[in-house]
């Protein structure tokens, strides 16, 4: 298909007609980026399925209106925001578009199949509408182009010939195309990446440039843009209309494609709108877009297209883009098997079980043996299951916060989660995970409440089944907790066994579920006794093996003798062999849970899970925070991520671990926990050792390879985080906020105090970063090799970071817009940040600076003071 388009593209500007003959694209368009290949296709009426447009055109009162009839002066209708589309010079737009088009094709652009065009006659047509599908205004502008004939433009840089629009006229006058040609060249260059795009979007005052970049976004890889999603949305919320208009088509387009993107946007929009005054907030653009997304009207365009009467004209603008009625029809008959609409396959479970809205009570639900009556007319829910899932997790957090003791919290948490399990599996997922999956079970007894004074953050483990696409793959069938059918149950009556069959039938996910079922049905204690002893036993000759033997050797009647001393010895040996664990402490339940090696935990939970035998079974974990603002954490995550990229690019072996943050609102969110790591506070409290001794205990003596590599990891991570702490001015660095992982890395967590904010303004922590003598001890002491290596790493890291300062600054700067976050308090935040990169210093001077900082941090008594302060106030060692 790409080829076909490549051939076509040169002809676009001159003659639109050939397009009518362009071969129907035989396969689904592989890429949304192709959607940029705009063309004023006139062949619309013959394309019944040219889906994406329909949101705007479906309701057209005059479906027979031909392309030619569509007037450029058609009303500009936008989604309630009333913005007008932008105008830039057609010539330039033409060129720009050509280039983009070409480049896109060269890239043979990418991945996720856009859902709509499998049977569109003219791909190009289809695509063009896509981003603007429901922007009435843009739809009108397409019409304009159509009439002009021969003008090809990027979807967003579109033309508005409407003479009545004074605003547009003004803009055109203001606009000076020649000035931008150099810019355009840059934009077309290979170097132009998302980071630059975002930067120009933020800095440029030219609506044309902004609009161009808005379109250009379509050509970037989704992942790349996703990284800047907080920036994009913050700009959308807080910057002027032009930027918003430029961004919106892209966002809407992506929302149509992906449920998770939709939710992500909705959450972020909500969070970033929250700093506005309540009155403006209600009418702000961000809130409106959020409502639009959450109203679930942004369904995949393909699904809607199919229901459109073929006579509908693409060029008929329609006020119905936002007509809620559309949503209502969406569930109607879906024709065409290519439809990727999740609605079609929405699962019974995901629908009725995980949602409140579709309550069970409405159906006459008899029992397990009576299939639930599932009404087909029901509006399938796209976003609801996940939203409900998140909502219930937050609800748990809120309720936990009211309980006084950790013990009660833990018990309550476990019980609430066990109830949550009833609703699973469902079409829900953990947004922090890097792969598509469905959540099937929450091993509730593994969940722990984390240490926090008044809030109740908690950590849950989540069993998921990896799948190809969580939107379209079937939700796995539920497997009962006990996993095995009772050997006691009488199951010979044919009419009674329907539950399992019925389920297996309608869910049909796990292909050999029945086999598995049988494979698992070894349950009786009696039978289990003959099973192999478990892992711990294989090391030594075990009594229980004796006993198995002895059963068989019963006939021989030869008594077997055992030494009491052996039993006793085995007992103490086995106790010694168990890996070092922390002792259970009701006041610190998370310590034990976090200390357990991740692999060990995965194995254990997998063994106990009814889903554990499935090959696609995975274990994830997530920290649910309720009542905490994670926007700063998200900002820190982005900076860390960016710096990690930079250091990787520059080949500086600094080690940091950005952990994923999901902002759900301005006071809730989720955090991806760092596995195999416990806080230094917990280490010291439970082991009662100094850090160095703990290293020796965990990794072996100072000359062993294990210790050395742990030490190297420690140094590399220390250097990385020292720089981070300095650059971002991370405060509140007590030992509870620094983790130590099983490989010796330290990981800083909790970026609640960064940049301009510091805790309680006590004036503590004046040093650049935290470097205690214990840390230095682990490095082998001052002036030793590892310590010098540490300083050298910092220098290299700083130089590398400096080189790419803009990329870092930009992330922070954009987020400052309209934000009331404490980290932006005061006016000098960005300036301060810039200064800490010391652009003016030579490398030698930088080296001196690093030396000074390290010296200063080591000498700093404020760190010690702060630790003492924390110990007295919060009991953190």
């Amino acid at each position: 298909m790409g080829d076909a388009e490549l051939e076509l593209s040169p002809s676009h500007p001159e003659e639109p007609e050939p397009l009518q003959h362009s071969p129907p694209s035989p396969t689904p368009s592989p890429s949304p980026s192709i959607s940029i290949t705009s063309s004023p296709s006139l062949s619309l009426p013959s394309t019944p399925s040219s889906g994406p447009h329909h949101p705007s055109q479906r309701r057209s009162p005059s479906p027979s209106e031909g392309p030619g009839a569509s007037s450029p002066a058609l009303d500009v209708i936008s989604e309630g925001t009333g913005e007008l589309t932008l105008v830039i010079d057609p010539e330039m737009a033409k060129r720009a578009c050509q280039e983009v088009l070409l480049k896109v094709k060269q890239q043979q652009a990418v991945e996720e199949g856009s859902e709509e065009n499998d049977n569109s006659t003219t791909t190009t047509t289809t695509e063009q509408g896509l981003p603007n599908g429901d922007l009435g205004g843009h739809g009108a502008s397409i019409g304009g182009v159509g009439v002009k004939g021969g003008v090809v433009k990027s979807p967003g840089i579109r033309e508005e010939d409407d003479p009545s629009s004074a605003k547009n006229a003004r803009r055109r006058q203001r606009h000076n195309p020649s000035k931008q040609s150099w810019l355009l060249r840059l934009f077309e260059s290979k170097l132009f990446d998302v980071s630059m795009a975002i930067s120009y979007l933020h800095n440029s005052k030219e609506p044309g440039v902004q609009a161009y970049i808005g379109n250009r976004l379509f050509s970037f890889r989704h992942d790349d843009v996703d990284f800047y999603l907080p920036q994009l949305l913050n700009m959308y919320v807080h910057m002027d209309e032009d930027v918003g208009d430029a961004i919106k088509p892209y966002v809407v387009h992506r929302c149509r494609q992906s449920i998770s993107f939709s939710l992500q946007c909705a959450w972020l929009l909500g969070a970033y709108s929250s700093d506005m005054h309540i009155s403006t907030q209600r009418h702000s653009r961000g809130t409106k877009l959020r409502k639009l997304i959450l109203s679930d009207e942004l369904k995949p365009a393909g699904a809607r297209a199919r229901r459109d009467p073929p006579t509908l004209s693409l060029f008929c603008p329609s006020a119905s883009a936002t007509n809620p009625l559309h949503g209502g029809v969406a569930a109607g008959g879906l024709i065409g098997e290519h439809s990727l609409s999740p609605s079609k396959r929405t699962h019974q479970r995901s629908k009725s079980d995980a949602t409140v809205s579709v309550s069970l009570s409405s159906n006459l639900k008899r029992t397990a043996s009576n299939p639930k009556v599932e009404s087909n007319q029901e509006e399938p829910v796209r976003l609801t299951p996940q939203r409900e899932f998140i909502k219930s997790l937050m609800g748990i957090g809120k309720r936990l916060a009211t309980l006084p003791t950790k013990e009660q919290k833990t018990q309550r948490l476990i019980s609430e989660l066990s109830l949550l399990n009833h609703k699973l599996p469902a079409r829900v997922w953990l947004p922090t995970a890097p792969f598509d999956h469905h959540v099937v079970r929450v091993p509730h007894s593994q969940a722990v409440v984390l240490n926090s004074k008044d809030k109740a953050p908690y950590l849950i483990y989540v069993e998921v089944l990896e799948c190809e696409n969580f939107e379209t793959s079937n939700v796995p069938a539920r497997i009962p907790e006990t996993r095995i059918r009772s050997t006691r149950s009488v199951e010979n009556l044919p009419d009674c066994g329907m539950t399992a069959e019925q389920r297996a039938g309608s869910f049909s996910v796990v292909p050999n579920y029945d086999n598995d079922d049988e494979a698992w049905s070894v349950d009786d204690m009696g039978e289990l006794q003959v099973e192999l002893p478990d892992v711990h036993t294989n090391s030594c000759d075990n009594i229980s093996q004796f006993s198995v033997d002895s059963i068989t050797s019963l006939e021989s009647k030869e008594p077997v003798f055992i030494a009491a001393g052996d039993i006793r010895r085995r007992l103490s040996e086995q106790l010694a062999h168990t890996p070092t664990t922390f002792k259970r402490d009701p006041e610190d339940p998370s310590a034990v849970a976090l200390k357990e090696p991740w692999q060990e935990k995965v194995r254990r939970i997998r063994e106990g899970s009814p889903y554990g035998h499935l090959p696609c079974w995975r274990l994830l974990s997530v920290i649910v925070k309720c009542g905490d603002d994670l926007r700063q954490e998200l900002l820190a995550y982005q900076v860390l991520q960016q710096l990690q990229c930079v250091w990787e690019m520059e080949r500086v072996p600094l080690w940091i671990k950005p952990y994923k943050i999901l902002v759900l609102s301005s006071d809730s969110g989720m955090i991806e926990p760092v596995v195999n790591a416990v806080s230094i506070h917990q280490v010291k409290k439970h082991s009662q050792l100094s850090l160095l001794d703990y290293f020796l205990q965990e990794h072996g003596s100072p000359t062993t390879e294990a210790f050395l590599s742990a030490q190297r990891n420690f140094v590399q991570s220390c250097a990385g985080y020292s720089l981070i702490c300095y650059l971002l001015q991370v405060k509140d660095r007590h030992n509870g906020n620094i983790l130590l992982d099983a490989e010796g890395h330290i990981i800083h967590i909790d970026f609640g105090f960064i940049l301009s904010s510091s805790p309680k303004n006590l004036g503590f922590e004046t040093s650049a970063f935290k470097l205690t003598s214990e840390f230095v001890d682990v490095m082998g002491g001052q002036d030793r090799d590892m310590f010098n290596y540490y300083k050298m790493l910092m220098l290299q890291g700083l130089i590398a970071a400096r080189k790419h300062m803009d990329k870092v600054i930009q992330i922070v700067e954009i987020m400052q817009q309209g934000s009331h976050l404490p980290c932006f308090h005061g006016s000098g935040t960005i300036r301060g940040l810039k200064e800490r990169f010391h652009m003016s210093l030579t490398e030698e001077q930088l080296q001196v600076l690093v030396e000074q900082m390290v010296e200063g941090s080591m000498r700093s008594i404020t760190t010690k003071l702060y630790d003492g302060f924390q110990y007295f106030t919060n009991g953190i060692m």
């Binding site: 018990q411 009556l493 006794q529 036993t537 030494a563 006793r568 106990g608």
Partner: protein, 689 residues
């Protein structure tokens, strides 16, 4: 015709002489009990009948008073009445439905009352007529089913359930109730489950539904295939199972609460009378007062669910918040309203019901914990029949739980810690309520505590042998699981050991009296084998190496008991007699215990001699034990970790038959259709119709 007239005339006369006004409905009943078809005179007779308020007593007594010959005469009319009752169930007019339900109930009861000795077939014939019976019952069951599942009035549903309960319990022995054969064919199982799965209907009718189910499951349990057993065993719908669990949980919680309230009353009395009374006198007194009627029906339901349905095990561990009276010593007990527990149980739906009650005093509980507390109360006093039965059933349920792999898994789950306040019997030699501060531990600790408590408190003349056997077996099963799965439970095993040794001591000292009634050797063998488990496999499940030393210390310290036991069993096994075989088994099982005693005793003595200490401290003995392991050889015994799985048949069949009989009697006594006054119904339905 003339006869009828005469009769009517007679009645009229008599009524005019005594009561000038006789209820119309009574007159209509009389017409039915006349020979003629009442509808011949009055075509709208049946329509009218069901508009009348039912006079249950009259109808029932009338049925009872009918004698043999008359039965033949009026059978057609009764059949017709039955038929019309069933038909009326489909009426739109709810008053008719109510009256029909009540009439049916009177019919069932009256007919059975009359024909206690008659065979089931005669009764069926009398009620419905043989040829029509199948059809009538099918219609009846279908009507009931649709009433129960429909959106109709709750009081109607309640009446339906009452009718069913009434039908199920009309005979003392449920298996002799032949009409139930039709209830087997036309299952209302689904309707029961639906009631249990729905939060609101569960609150109102859950109890009746669960009791009904428990009884139905016990119909001809051992003779034929009971579809209710089959269906119950495969239910896997969590909300439903949970609903069942909630009903049981609620009933047991209610019992615990009542008991607690009574106990507190007594406690108050205790303090007031403390000045005048001696403590132990009071205790005997209190026991009497504290007995709250146990609820065997609900316990039976729990048993059937645990025993038959694999998936129900998960429900046991399903936690929900509960107002725990024990843990909140600061706040004077439930000032918090208990309503959320009652009518609308704190819904199982975290999602549907995001606002669970937010009370800081709420302690998370689950069915198992509540059950353990209940059991701890019930087991305190096993003197009367009901309580003994309840205690036995509790232990049977625990046996089933201890055998279940999944249940064991969560019992031993290190992450699921709970405080379980078991009730302890006030005893002379120990103070009550010393340990208010029970640590948070895995649930299995509570089970073990309960067992230890039972062992310690029931060494009495009227020795509950059977309960002791079950108790020891439960411990054995739990330890087998721990051994197999290498779970090192941090439990103070010492308490168990000393309880077991005391039990052996008791058996020895009461040998003669006990032997008259029980095979004490079997129990002794189980106890000794528990010790053998610890001795041979201690390395796989003991929590610390010290605990193994302590085991030896305990055995050596109490060696007298083992020595005496050995002497006793040796004596009995050398004699010929019925106990020869079992006693010799105990002799063999004692081999390792004796080896330990014989090995360490001299060592300890010599240690004392060498160091010139008369009384060795525990630490010193442990030291001797530790240093002398290596020279001790033990014999490996077979099958220590084997146990017989629980099976209801044939061993327990008699028990359950009796239990069900007593439950039937109890339910029959308590099912009153009059609980719902006609007024309420009228008020409710007059607006509807």
């Amino acid at each position: 015709m003339s006869q009828v007239e005469k009769k009517v005339g007679l009645l009229r006369r008599s009524s005019s002489s005594k009561k000038p006004l006789k209820e119309k409905v009574v007159l209509m009943y009389d017409e039915i009990f006349a020979k003629e078809d009442p509808s011949t005179h009055n075509p709208r007779f049946w329509d009218e009948l069901f508009l009348m308020k039912v006079n249950l007593e009259y109808l029932e007594s009338k049925l009872e008073s009918v004698d043999g010959e008359e039965v033949q005469r009026i059978q057609d009319n009764i059949n017709s009445l039955f038929h019309h009752c069933v038909q009326a169930l489909g009426e739109e007019h709810q008053i008719k439905v109510v009256n029909a339900l009540q009439t049916l109930c009177a019919l069932f009861r009256g007919v059975h009352q009359k024909n206690k000795s008659a065979s089931g077939f005669d009764i069926i014939n009398m009620l419905m007529g043989f040829d029509k019976a199948e059809l009538r019952m099918k219609d009846l069951m279908e009507s009931l089913d649709s009433l129960l599942c429909g959106d109709g009035s709750e009081s109607l549903k309640s009446l339906c359930l009452k009718l069913l309960l009434c039908l199920v319990t009309v005979t003392d022995n449920i298996s002799q109730n032949t009409i139930l054969e039709y209830v087997m064919i036309n299952s209302i199982f689904e309707a029961i489950l639906q009631i249990l799965s729905d939060v609101s209907s569960r609150g109102q009718h859950g109890y009746d539904a669960v009791v009904l189910l428990a009884l139905l499951v016990n119909y001809r349990k051992y003779e034929s295939v009971n579809p209710y057993i089959v269906k119950l065993s495969i239910v896997d719908d969590e909300p439903t199972l949970d609903g069942m669990g909630m009903v049981v949980h609620h009933a047991l919680t209610e019992y615990n609460r009542q008991y607690k309230a009574k106990e507190e009353e007594n406690q108050g009395g205790f303090f007031s009378t403390l000045t005048t009374m001696v403590g132990n006198m009071f205790i005997a007194d209190a026991d009497e007062k504290l007995s709250v009627q146990t609820n065997e029906a609900i316990l039976l339901a729990l048993y059937e669910a645990v025993h038959l349905n694999r998936n129900f095990i998960t429900v046991l561990a399903q936690s929900h918040p509960e107002i725990d009276m024990g843990v909140t010593p600061v706040t004077p007990i439930p000032t918090t309203p208990t309503t959320p527990l009652g009518t609308t149980p704190p819904s199982l739906d975290a999602m549907n019901n995001p606002e669970l009650p937010l009370d800081p005093n709420l302690q998370t509980s689950n069915l198992l914990i509540t059950f353990l507390k209940y059991a701890s109360i019930v087991m305190q006093d096993t003197k009367d029949e009901h309580r003994l039965n309840s205690a036995r059933l509790c232990l049977i349920i625990l046996t089933c739980i201890a055998e279940d792999q999944y249940a064991d898994a969560f019992l031993h789950d290190d992450n699921m810690n709970f405080r379980v306040n078991l009730h302890k019997m006030p005893m002379r030699h120990r103070k009550k309520g010393v340990d208010k501060n029970i640590p948070c531990r895995p649930l299995v600790c509570a089970v073990l505590d309960l067992m230890v408590e039972f062992i310690v408190t029931h060494m009495m003349k009227d020795f509950p042998m059977d309960l002791y056997m079950r108790c020891i077996q439960i411990i054995h099963k739990l330890i087998c699981y721990q051994k197999k799965c290498r779970i090192r439970l941090h439990y103070t095993w010492r308490e168990l050991w000393s309880a077991l040794i005391n039990l052996l001591k008791f058996l020895l000292s009461n040998e003669t009296t006990l032997l008259a009634k029980h095979n004490i050797f079997h129990l002794a063998l189980l106890v000794v084998n528990l010790f053998n488990m610890f001795i041979t496999y201690g390395d796989t499940f003991l929590p610390t190496s010290n605990s193994y030393d302590e085991l030896y210390y305990e055995v050596v310290r109490m060696h007298q008991v083992f020595d005496n036991l050995y002497c006793m069993v040796l004596r009995v096994s050398t004699n010929t007699g019925q106990w020869k075989e079992p006693a010799s088994k105990v002799t063999h099982s004692l081999v390792n215990v004796r080896a330990i005693i014989n090995h360490f005793n001299p060592k300890i003595e010599s240690y004392a001699a060498v160091n010139h200490i008369s009384q060795l401290s525990e630490e010193q003995v442990l030291e001797v034990v530790r240093t002398n392991y290596d020279t001790l050889t033990l014999k490996l015994q077979d099958g220590l970790d084997q146990f017989e799985r629980y099976s209801e048949q044939p061993k327990e069949a008699a028990f359950f038959k009796e239990l069900v009989r007593s439950i039937s009697l109890n339910v029959r006594k308590n099912v009153s259709l009059n609980t719902m006054s006609q007024d309420v119904l009228l008020k409710e339905f007059s607006t509807i119709s």
